[in-house]
Amino acid sequence: MNETGKNSLRNIIVLTAITVVAAFALAITYRVTEEKINDSARLEALKSVKAVLPKDAKGNPLYANDPDKLAFEMKITEDQKQVDPILVFYPGLSDKGEVIGFAVKVTSKIGYGGDIQMMIGMTPKGEILDIQILSMNETPGLGTKVSEPSFKDQFTGKSLETGAKFVLKKDDSSNYDLDAASGATISSRAITYAVHRVVTFYEAHKSEIMTKGSGNTTNPVNPALNR
């Protein structure tokens, strides 16, 4: 083999050797981290569920199960474009297996910058406990104000049963019970509409949701899993 031939061969061998060693090292690293990676997305989702379900005075969750293991989906059948028709319910159960609350994941499609994904916590009576914004593309500093307590906390304690209307002052100044975040009318409307959708859906399908939520008693309820 002449000089250039030998050179090319050497180039190929060295390059291939380095690539193979690299691929090997990566495969090992992947093996080591694989489980943690799969867990991390799930744990992150669980965090928002935990944040909106009922808690005691110290902030510890009152539920005794693994809400995401008992999660179920329900579909809004009416034709509407403001909210993604799939709602995901995460039930929180006491250690006796009774439903003490639901975390509902809902996606509003009418945000200023597109979809707003939210987690809404409510009691079995349909009273709002808390709202967490999971993801949004709203204008930083303006639309993003809807994730601040000054806007969100307005929803806490409201329920259809006690006569809440879930209407913004901007939309009906004679018959409202919520104030939009200043400079964020569209974002505020998106959130308000989504919450209203969820509570009306819950009201209409309450018995079905409660049945699905308490599940069948063969589902394991693990009191130690309060992460």
């Binding site: 690299a22 691929a23 990566l26 495969a27 690293t29 992947y30 910058g113 597109g114 204008t139």
Partner: protein
């Protein structure tokens, strides 16, 4: 068809790769001194990015994922890009030697252009189908070209006229001008959902 046009519009104006996503800044600052060179670079990048979108998409969904080798994505993609850039270099050297001379070191540097690797990865994270991925690659490259040519126009003007203080001359004034361009492009937000 309409959706594809919206995709291009979004990639060029609303989420412009350079002015909004911060991808491709190094060549943007380096090759934008003259409109001609900027245009040449832009066309080379359009070629590379479109081909990259195609090849990397195929590799991701027909090789990496079926074999559960997703973690090799970075290595595979960047090697593909390096090879493609070599190819483009050879082509340009053959068919347009003066452009080859003008682009100089910046041609092989397309390999390290964040925009190229960026678009390959974005196509996967956004879950695009093949056609969407290629159109997105093409559109984003057009956005890059638009930004770099616009900027070259501004810089040529500035070199002719303005008396720029020594302290900000060069990179700083380029960045500050880009800030204004980027601010203008912010006005496009909300144009395409």
């Amino acid at each position: 068809m309409g959706e594809l046009l919206l995709l291009i519009l979004g990639a060029v104006l609303v989420n412009n790769f350079v002015l909004s996503r911060f991808l491709g800044i190094c060549p943007f600052l380096g090759v934008s001194k003259k409109i001609e060179t900027a245009t040449g670079m832009g066309i080379a990048v359009i070629f590379v990015m479109t081909l990259t979108s195609m090849i990397c998409w195929i590799l991701q969904y027909y090789v990496l994922e079926p074999l559960n080798l997703g973690f090799l994505q970075t290595i595979v993609f960047i090697l593909v890009i390096a090879a493609l850039v070599q190819l483009v270099e050879m082509i340009i050297q053959k068919i347009a030697p003066p452009l080859y001379q003008a682009l100089g070191i910046y041609l092989p540097l397309i390999t390290t252009n964040c925009a190229v690797l960026g678009v390959a990865i974005l196509n996967v994270t956004k879950g695009f189908g093949f056609v969407y991925a290629v159109v997105f690659g093409f559109g984003s490259a057009c956005g890059f070209t638009l930004a770099i040519v616009m900027f070259a126009g501004i810089r040529e003007r500035m070199a002719l006229g303005g008396r720029i203080p020594k302290v900000v001359d060069g990179v700083p004034i380029a960045l500050i001008t880009t800030a204004i361009l980027s601010l203008a492009f912010l006005g496009f937000s909300g144009l395409v959902k």
